[in-house]
Structures are given as structure tokens and as C-alpha cells.
């Protein structure tokens, strides 16, 4: 493999990994607070369509990203009210949110079909971003770097800040956290809103970076991969990063090997590889999972009612 090709492959992996990484980091915070939100795919679609529409009208993709975060966070508020205030079942509410996001984004996006907008540009000078060698460092979309920064940020927040500690405490034992006076519902509301904003940002990657356009179901199921990734990573930010890049690598190498003329396997087998790989890695990790650190938040998916 030539050096140029290697650089291209690395860039391909980073591109395929980033939207899943960002959405998964949001979901990780949500799950750490003890809530399971299966609506990621729907929120990503809402983010994608909002980002595109705002970018078209304002000419600013950056503004589009911000709007995507806002819109997706608003949609996650529906989920938060239902599951937190009304203690509805989280699995069902999350699924409903995905159906809702798919439908609403298709309705709202109808006027934007068939047009394009400015791609979210590089933050580095063109000379650096387009240099055949240096592009491996400077040629990525700003969201790629943001994904890395967010990984560190989420780790730092959960491991090193007081609020992060409280959030984890809420996820591990809501009754106990409540009894020492932590605002369980408030923390979870904020976590869900953060998760929504991250899903929206991840969605904006599709409509502003990968393919600057809008079409129905643009994210094509990536939101589900993001949810899988959180479990795959045993709720650890660094592992989410590793998992996202691994997933990006499986997708990129699948296509690269096909593009290089390697066709010993049926295309359907290669297409199912990312999913099979996820199952295998989940099994391997679970089999070796012994330490308390790698466990799911104790209250995950369980409704909390401030009683007593």
C-alpha cells in the first residue's frame, strides 16, 4: 500500500467514524446518567435537515451546525418530558422519537431536495489542508477535530468534575443520589439535552460535510450504530473513540478492498461485516468484562420517581 493510499485510507476512516463518534459521545453521557435513549437516529435526521436548511438560508454551514444541535436538543426534550417527568418506558419512547424524527425530517426537508449548499470548510489554510502529505493532519473537516476534543471533554467531565461525579452517581443509584439531595431529574434532563445536541451535530456531518445535500433518511441507520458503540465501549469515552474509528476502518477497508479489485467474498457478506464485527466484539468484551468499571450504569433504562 503506497503512502498516499495509506493517507487516503486514514482520512476515510476519520470521516466515516466522526458522525458516529459524536452521536455516541452524547448517548454515553445520557446512559451514564441512567437513561437509555433509542431515538438517536431520529435526532440525527432532525439535525441533518436543520443544518442543511439553515446553511442554505444563511450561507453559513457553521450556523447550520449550531441550529442542528438546537433542533435535535429540542426534539430530545420530548423524550425527556415523557421518560423523566411522566416516567414512560424509555425503549418505547426512544423508538417513537426515531419514527418521529424520520417523518418530521422528511416533511420539513421536502423543499430542500435537489439543491446543495456550501460544504463546511477547513479551519486551516488551504496550503496545509490540501498538501498531499500534511492533509493527514490538516485536511479533515472541523468536526473530525471536534470529535476528538469532545472525546477528551466528555472523559474529563465525567472523571474529573464534580458535576460529572454527580451525574455518574445519579446513573448508579438514583434513589441514593436523591436522598443525599442531588437533583436527579435536573441532571438527567441536562444529560438528555446534551445527548440530543450531540446527535444533531453528528447528523449535520451528513448534510454539511459528507454529502452537502438533503434527502430522506440521509443517515441510513448510523444512529443505531452509535447506540451500539456505547455498549461496545463499555461506557468509556476513550473506547467510544476507538470503537468509532474501528467501525470506520471496517467500512473503509471493506470499500477499499472492493475498489482494489478484491472480490473473493460475496458483496453481501462484506456488507454485513460491520454488524457481525460489532456482535463479535461485544461478545469478546463482555466475556472478558470483570471489573466494575466496565459495567453498565446501574439505573440504565429504569424510571425514577422522586417519592418518599
Amino acid at each position: 500500500m503506497s503512502a498516499m493510499l495509506l493517507i487516503s485510507v486514514v482520512m476515510g476512516i476519520a470521516g466515516a467514524a466522526t458522525p458516529i463518534l459524536i452521536a455516541a459521545l452524547g448517548e454515553l453521557v445520557v446512559e451514564k446518567s441512567g437513561v437509555l435513549n433509542l431515538g438517536v437516529e431520529g435526532m440525527m435526521l432532525i439535525g441533518a435537515v436543520t443544518a442543511f436548511a439553515v446553511s442554505v438560508h444563511t450561507g453559513s454551514p457553521a450556523l447550520g451546525c449550531l441550529a442542528a444541535m438546537l433542533a435535535a436538543a429540542l426534539s430530545s426534550l420530548i423524550f425527556a418530558v415523557l421518560t423523566l417527568t411522566l416516567t414512560a418506558n424509555q425503549v418505547a419512547t426512544g423508538l417513537a422519537l426515531t419514527i418521529f424524527g424520520t417523518g418530521v425530517s422528511a416533511l420539513a426537508g421536502a423543499p430542500y431536495v435537489g439543491i446543495t449548499t456550501t460544504r463546511l470548510g477547513s479551519i486551516f489554510p488551504q496550503a496545509l489542508a490540501e498538501d498531499p502529505w500534511l492533509r493527514v493532519l490538516f485536511g479533515h473537516s472541523p468536526l473530525v477535530y471536534l470529535g476528538l476534543i469532545l472525546t477528551f471533554g466528555v472523559w474529563w467531565f465525567l472523571a474529573r468534575t464534580r458535576t460529572g461525579l454527580v451525574l455518574r452517581a445519579v446513573g448508579e443509584g438514583d434513589e441514593a443520589a436523591h436522598s443525599i439531595g442531588y437533583p436527579v431529574l435536573k441532571i438527567r434532563y441536562l444529560a438528555i439535552l446534551f445527548g440530543g445536541a450531540m446527535a444533531g451535530l453528528g447528523g449535520s456531518y451528513f448534510s454539511l460535510v459528507l454529502t452537502p445535500m438533503w434527502a430522506e433518511r440521509l443517515t441510513a441507520g448510523r444512529g443505531w450504530i452509535a447506540i451500539a458503540l456505547v455498549v461496545f465501549a463499555s461506557w468509556r469515552p476513550a473506547w467510544v473513540l476507538a470503537g468509532a474509528y474501528l467501525f470506520g476502518a471496517v467500512i473503509t477497508l471493506e470499500l477499499q478492498s472492493k475498489a482494489a479489485g478484491f472480490n473473493a467474498f460475496a458483496p453481501e457478506f462484506l456488507s454485513s461485516l460491520p454488524y457481525l464485527a460489532t456482535i463479535v466484539v461485544l461478545a469478546v468484551i463482555s466475556a472478558g468484562r470483570r471489573s466494575a468499571k466496565t459495567r453498565a450504569p446501574a439505573c440504565l433504562g429504569r424510571p425514577f420517581r422522586a417519592s418518599a
Binding site: T102, F206, T211, A220, I251, L255, Q256, K258, A259
Partner: protein
């Protein structure tokens, strides 16, 4: 919500196995107004295959004005769902129902037998009945134009093909593209990447990028989203639109596009109903009938390439150019068509082998 469930298996087929059903042939009887309904497999917002059919419906409304009333149902899954929708449309007083995806064939046939007074038109299939016609487009004619442009403009002599599923129509397109490209550059090769989906923008874009990384400098596609075009635009390669003029997505990369121009056919069929002259038929139309058009050539295309591409279009329209004319060898070098011999339509419609120069 889960994208993978509803993909049309757009296919093409022809006139060989005509299935006759009972039900009397329609009596010739004119109408003042025709109610026409359309069934689409994707959303009209796909900006690809279903979008193109809906543009045909709008063309029909525009041309015939208040002599026609149209409606459509989008996102219809092939199988029992399609049967239900088609039956509902037949019961709803429509004079003709256009079922626009291959997978609607058996459902359409079933309903056609139950409603002998309603006319049915099915796209890209091979079954007909006294009140059910089949129509299809020779998409491969456009592929020959794309191949000619690719062969002339590619510096590396390598083209990349982002493809969905290896069904006859897709195979036909790959072969026509490669045959045409090798006529102008005998060393041209086509690398195919199967993405196993009709619509997955992220995967289509990544596939195009992978092909570009491997040294191809022309991207063409048989999937529905403009994502591969946008990837080519970003890398400075050339590419072609699918089903509709997609130049707005890639003003520099987009050389031309195969435009599915169903409108004139829809007008013709509805006019026949108005006149009372409709009869069941099985047609495989192409550039000659204006069902297939090339989008305007990109001004950046060199003049000699424009001229060569236009020549293919003109000769195809005149009936003097047919890409599937021998000598044609398959991947193994075996001669499939002798010099001057034309592969018959019947064989094309079930094509499952690749010509020399294809790596699939």
C-alpha cells in the same frame, strides 16, 4: 425509519414471456377525462428514480391540462403492500394505474385480473395481460454515451462504478459503459464496487472515495443519491448524474446525466385512453422515443469529447448505433458476440456476465 427495508429492485426485462390473463380486451371507447394514478417505490424526494417518474407525472398534467387528473402513492413496498395500493387505486375510479418498479409486477398482474376495465402499465417488467402493458427504457444507451466520455477524458484509463445489486439492468449498464469506453481507449478498465443498497449516501460517498483513492478518475454510479458525484467534485474527478440532471450538486464534476424522461410516454398513453385506442403492449423504449435523454453537456467538456458524445446520441436516435454489437468478449476472453453480430434483446434482458475490462 430503517432505510434498508424498502429498496426497489429496479430491473428491466422485456417482452418474452407474455403472460396472458383472462378478461376481455378493452373495447375502444374514448373518454373526456382520464384519471391516472402512479405508484412509486421510493419517496418522490429521492431525487433519483421515483423523482424522475414523478416529473413524468407532472409533465403529463402540464401537457394534457384538465383532460387528466393524476394522483400518486410514494414509498410503496414491493409485495402485498403494492398489491393493496394498486387495488385501492383501481377501486378508486382510476382509468389507468402506472406501477413504476419491477417488484410491482406480480401484484399488478393479480389486480389486473380482478379489474378488467381498468388499464395497468408496469415499468421494467416482463409480464403483460389484455389490460396490463409493460414499458421499459433502454438505460444502457445512455451508459454508452457516458462510457465514451469516460474513455476520452480519463487520464488513468480507470473508471469507478458505484453499483447497487447485480441485476440484469445494472450489469447491462456496466457492460455498455465499459464497451463504449474501450472503443476509444482499448486499455480502459472499470472497477465496480457493490454497495448492496439502492440508497445509502454515506456508503455511496465512501465507495466513490475508495475508488478515487485507488486511482480511478471517472466515477459513475447505479445507485440513487448524488453522493458519489459530490465525492468526485471534491476530488476534482469527473462523474455523471443518475436518473436526473444532478449538475447542481457537482457543477464541475457533472459531465452529463442519463435523464429518465418518462413524461412523453405518459402523455402518449393517456392520449390513447382519451381517444379510445389503448391496447396492451410491451415496449422497450429509448433515445429514439425521447424516453431517455442526456442532460446538457458540461461546458468544461473538451469540444472533441462533446462531438463524440453527441455523435453517439445522434446515431442511437437514428438507429445506426447499438453498443451491444460484436465483437464482444467476456471477462475470460471468450467471444460472446461475433463481429457485427448484435446481442438479441432477449439475451440482454437477462444479462449476467461482464465484458472484458470489467472487474466486478
Amino acid at each position: 425509519m430503517f432505510e434498508i427495508t424498502r429498496r426497489r429492485l429496479l430491473t428491466t426485462a422485456g417482452s418474452l414471456a407474455t403472460v396472458s390473463a383472462f378478461g376481455l380486451p378493452a373495447r375502444a371507447q374514448g373518454k373526456d377525462k382520464v384519471k391516472a394514478a402512479f405508484v412509486y417505490v421510493g419517496p418522490v424526494g429521492d431525487y433519483g428514480y421515483s423523482f424522475a417518474h414523478d416529473q413524468g407525472r407532472k409533465f403529463l398534467e402540464e401537457k394534457l391540462g384538465d383532460k387528466v387528473e393524476t394522483s400518486f402513492v410514494e414509498n410503496v413496498a414491493e409485495g402485498p403492500d403494492a398489491e393493496r395500493v394498486i387495488r385501492q387505486l383501481a377501486q378508486g375510479g382510476n382509468d389507468v394505474v402506472f406501477a413504476t418498479s419491477f417488484g410491482f409486477m406480480n401484484p399488478t398482474l393479480k389486480v389486473a385480473k380482478q379489474f378488467p376495465d381498468v388499464k395497468f402499465e408496469h415499468a421494467t417488467g416482463y409480464m403483460t395481460a389484455p389490460n396490463m402493458a409493460a414499458y421499459n427504457s433502454r438505460f444502457y444507451q445512455g451508459r454508452a454515451v457516458l462510457g465514451t466520455i469516460a474513455g476520452m477524458m480519463s487520464k488513468s484509463g480507470k473508471g469507478g462504478y458505484v453499483a447497487s445489486f447485480p441485476i440484469p439492468e445494472v450489469v447491462m449498464g456496466i457492460d455498455a459503459f465499459t464497451l463504449a469506453a474501450r472503443k476509444v481507449n482499448p486499455n480502459f478498465t472499470t472497477q465496480v464496487v457493490w454497495v448492496s443498497s439502492w440508497y445509502d449516501p454515506a456508503k455511496e460517498a465512501d465507495a466513490a472515495k475508495a475508488l478515487l483513492d485507488q486511482g480511478v478518475d471517472v466515477i459513475t454510479q447505479h445507485t440513487d443519491s448524488p453522493a458519489p458525484l459530490q465525492a468526485a467534485e471534491q476530488r476534482g474527478a469527473i462523474a455523471f448524474g443518475q436518473a436526473w440532471d444532478m449538475s447542481s450538486f457537482a457543477p464541475n464534476a457533472h459531465m452529463t446525466a442519463i435523464v429518465d424522461h418518462w413524461g412523453p410516454y405518459y402523455v402518449q398513453e393517456v392520449q390513447k385512453l382519451l381517444d379510445g385506442t389503448w391496447e396492451s403492449h410491451d415496449v422497450w423504449l429509448g433515445m429514439q422515443e425521447d424516453v431517455l435523454e442526456m442532460a446538457p453537456f458540461n461546458p468544461k467538456m473538451p469540444d472533441d469529447v462533446k462531438a463524440a458524445a453527441q455523435k453517439i446520441v445522434d446515431e442511437t436516435k437514428a438507429g445506426t448505433y447499438e453498443i451491444f454489437t460484436g465483437p464482444i468478449k467476456d471477462q475470460k476472453g471468450e467471444l460472446k458476440a461475433k463481429d457485427g453480430e448484435r446481442i438479441p434483446d432477449a439475451d440482454l434482458l437477462k444479462l449476467d456476465w461482464y465484458v472484458e475490462g470489467v472487474n466486478a
